[in-house]
């Protein structure tokens, strides 16, 4: 863990701001499921080219908050978001915002690998096709290869692009999903416990991959493993009961938490 190569940072009292340029920013966001408030007045900034980890005990609202960043919450009938979330300064909840385009810019990878029951090639080509990014077969081939390469899957699958995506192993499937997400070249990638269904070896590969990807994208990852957060992220937000208890540099959170609750959690007093 080379935690030392860090820039100087401006530290605010309660919400930490970073010198890194902001990609997304949430201000006083609350999310409701019907009457139930799952996220309570959360403000967080997502910096460009960093990995931001959300940790916290089960049910504290990590997934809920993550899904509100690309409006995947819209698909849940009774979910409602209050407050402001911006992408490059543009409010994603403003009326007239196009969800379809938003989601192309803010990609998502889920807990359980969910490749489409189509060929590997089609899985990757799906996004570029529907968005009309390219019409030519050659360009599409190029995009597929590029994406698979970046996801570190190309060598394993290049000879069987026509096989079904569901025929891959769990870890390969998850990398396929990541490749699928980056095929439309998003600006932010959200990952909700991307390794929780994987074995340790596959997990390690994904973690490496995440570290690679961050050179191009802003990445947000939800994880229930503090070890994983410590390994892959530079920023960590600790959620508890729908609130962000603490948000800051990962190294600070793990070695020198400001809040008692964070400390209790980190040291295993609960969770």
């Amino acid at each position: 863990m080379n935690a030392e190569a860090i820039h100087t940072e401006v530290k605010a009292e309660t919400t930490p701001y970073f010198d890194a340029p902001l990609k997304m920013s949430a201000k006083n966001v609350s999310v409701y499921y019907g009457d139930k408030r799952a996220i309570d007045d959360v403000s967080i900034d997502i910096p460009q080219r960093y990995v931001t980890a959300f940790i916290g005990p089960s049910g504290c609202g990590k997934s809920t908050f993550l899904r509100s960043l690309n409006r995947m919450n819209d698909t849940i009938a009774n979910a409602r978001v209050e407050g402001e979330i911006t992408l490059d300064g543009d409010d994603i909840y403003r009326s007239g915002m196009d969800v379809v385009q938003l989601r192309a810019r803010v990609g998502m990878v889920f807990q359980k690998p969910n490749p489409f029951p189509k060929s590997i090639y089609e899985n990757i080509a799906y996004g570029p096709r529907i968005h009309g990014i390219t019409g030519s077969k050659a360009e599409l081939d190029e995009i597929v290869e590029q994406s698979l390469r970046r996801a570190g899957l190309w060598d394993e699958v290049k000879d069987r692009l026509a096989d079904s995506g569901t025929a891959l192993s769990g870890g390969q499937q998850q990398r396929l999903c990541i490749a699928r997400a980056i095929a439309v070249d998003p600006e932010v990638i959200l990952m909700d416990e991307p390794c929780s269904a994987l074995d340790p070896i596959a997990t390690a590969r994904i973690e490496e991959l995440i570290d690679d990807l961050r050179s191009r994208y802003a990445i947000v990852i939800v994880t229930h493993s503090m070890q994983q957060a410590a390994r892959v992220s530079q920023r960590t937000a600790f959620f508890h009961l729908g609130k962000v208890v603490e948000y800051g540099k990962t190294s600070d959170i793990f070695t020198n938490p400001r809040e008692e609750r964070t400390k209790d959690y980190i040291t295993g007093r609960y969770g």
Binding site: P115, P117, V184
Partner: protein, 460 residues
């Protein structure tokens, strides 16, 4: 003693056995509070009750079956029975009448001769009823005593009662197998007889269907080529009806699962179910009286002059409407079985709902939808009342949907309720047609169920 009273008796004795055994089990504990019963007192109760009730019921059933013969035998031994004719229906009628009067089911006799037999019947009935009663009680007690004496604190009453329950469940589920066997048995003999008269090849591949149920027999003008029936069945059930039902059913399912709000779904789904619940005879009536003339007039209006009122079109359209809810609910199920993750995955790529449905959800649900369509077809080709009332009787081998066509089910009804005698191949052909229908639907269902199953497993 009517069987009902024996039944009540058996239940009463079982109840007694239950109570006795239960209190005995409690007594074990009272005597020695340390003792731990293997089974609850209730189970001891049930164990004894079963041993009391089951043999008694079996005997009562047996007695109900044989005692009438014994009673009649006893009456015939009586001199009064000399008035009876020696054999035949009249004799049986007189006996039956006398018995009815004696048991109080009838107040008087229709034939005077029977009156003399009433008294002997009364005596015989009393005698044999008493015997039945006594033996039933004895059997019940014997069973009860056997069971009761086995009760001990560590007696495994629960295990035994549970085995009996398990046997009961198994027997219940065997009814399904028996029914299947019954269906095959009831078709196969007559079918074989039919094929003794008409070559299976002519039947399966002949293109002329003109049975003549009234003819004297074998060498008549009848032809039993069932191809026109198969064609009519397929054309109405698998083509016209499906052209209506598949797109409408599928789109309904898609709309309800993917677009409609919860409230809409709550209202519309039951409505679709109502459409499925309308009896086929009503659809038939609707088809024959309302839709068929409309179809005919429409056909005439567009210049098809030979449009028949009993057109394949009318029957097929109405059948299609009837099948819509079926297709829609099958499609609904298979779309629901596509994991939410699949949908989320596509939406998260920035696909619109329509793209997600067309490119991800429907392809993923396709095996289930196909299986559902197969089940729908099997239902459509087995549908009877609509075609009996709205399709024709003419075995036309034509592609014109406005002409009249006949179907397998129509011919089954026609042949079995028609004028032919029962040893005539025309009548027997109904069973052969039934057999074909059964085998075809069986195959369709079998494949469909396999597909559904395999495909469900793929996601579980």
């Amino acid at each position: 003693m009517s069987p009902a009273i024996l039944l009540l008796l058996a239940f009463g004795l079982s109840l007694l056995g239950w109570l006795a055994a239960r209190s005995r089990a409690w007594a074990f504990r009272r005597k020695d509070p340390q003792v731990r019963l293997h089974s609850l007192p209730n189970f001891h109760g049930w164990y004894v009750a079963l041993w009391v009730g089951v043999p008694a019921l079996l005997f009562a059933a047996l007695w109900a079956a044989i005692s009438p013969a014994l009673i009649t035998g006893h009456v015939l031994a009586d001199p009064a029975s000399a008035v009876l004719p020696n054999f035949g229906f009249e004799r049986e009628t007189l006996l039956a009448e006398a018995r009815s009067v004696a048991t109080g089911r009838a107040f008087g006799v229709f034939n005077e001769e029977a009156q003399a037999l009433v008294a002997p019947y009364r005596t015989a009935i009393t005698l044999f009823d008493s015997i039945g009663l006594v033996v039933t009680i004895l059997v019940a007690f014997a069973g009860g005593a056997f069971a009761f004496l086995r009760l001990k604190p560590d007696f495994t009453a629960r295990t035994r009662v549970e085995r009996a329950v398990m046997a009961l469940l198994l027997i219940a589920s065997l009814v399904a197998i028996l029914t299947t066997i019954g269906i095959i048995a009831s078709l196969v003999f007559e079918t074989i007889r039919f094929f003794g008269m008409v070559s299976p090849l002519d039947f399966l591949f002949g293109t002329h269907w003109s049975p003549d149920p009234m003819s004297a027999g074998a060498p008549d003008g009848s032809e039993y080529g069932a191809i026109p029936l198969f064609w009519g069945t397929i054309y109405i059930g698998a083509i016209i009806a499906m052209i209506v039902a598949i797109p409408l059913g599928l789109m309904s399912a898609i709309f309800l699962t993917q677009y409609a709000s919860n409230t809409v779904r709550k209202v519309v789904k039951p409505l679709l179910e109502v459409l499925a619940g309308v009896p086929t005879v009503v659809y038939g009536y609707f088809a024959a009286l309302t839709v068929a003339p409309m179809v005919r007039d429409a056909a005439h209006a567009i210049g098809i002059t030979n449009a028949s009122t009993e057109s394949a079109m009318a029957a097929g359209l109405v059948m299609g409407v009837m099948i819509i809810p079926f297709v829609s609910s099958m499609a609904d199920d298979s779309i629901a079985a596509v994991p939410q993750a699949m949908r989320d995955g596509s939406l998260a790529m920035g696909a619109t709902t329509a793209e997600t449905i067309r490119k991800v959800i429907v392809p993923a649900a396709l095996p289930g939808i196909v299986a559902g369509v197969m089940l729908a077809i099997s239902r459509a080709i087995g549908e009877t009342m609509i075609v009996v009332m709205a399709a024709g009787a003419s075995a036309n081998l034509t592609g014109n949907p406005f002409e009249s066509m006949t179907t397998v089910t129509f011919q089954i009804v026609a042949m079995l309720t028609g004028e032919g005698s029962f040893d005539h191949p025309a009548t027997l052909s109904a069973f052969a047609l039934g057999m074909v229908l059964f085998l075809v639907t069986l195959t369709l269902n079998f494949i469909a169920l396999r597909v559904v199953k395999r495909y469900r497993e793929a996601y579980e």
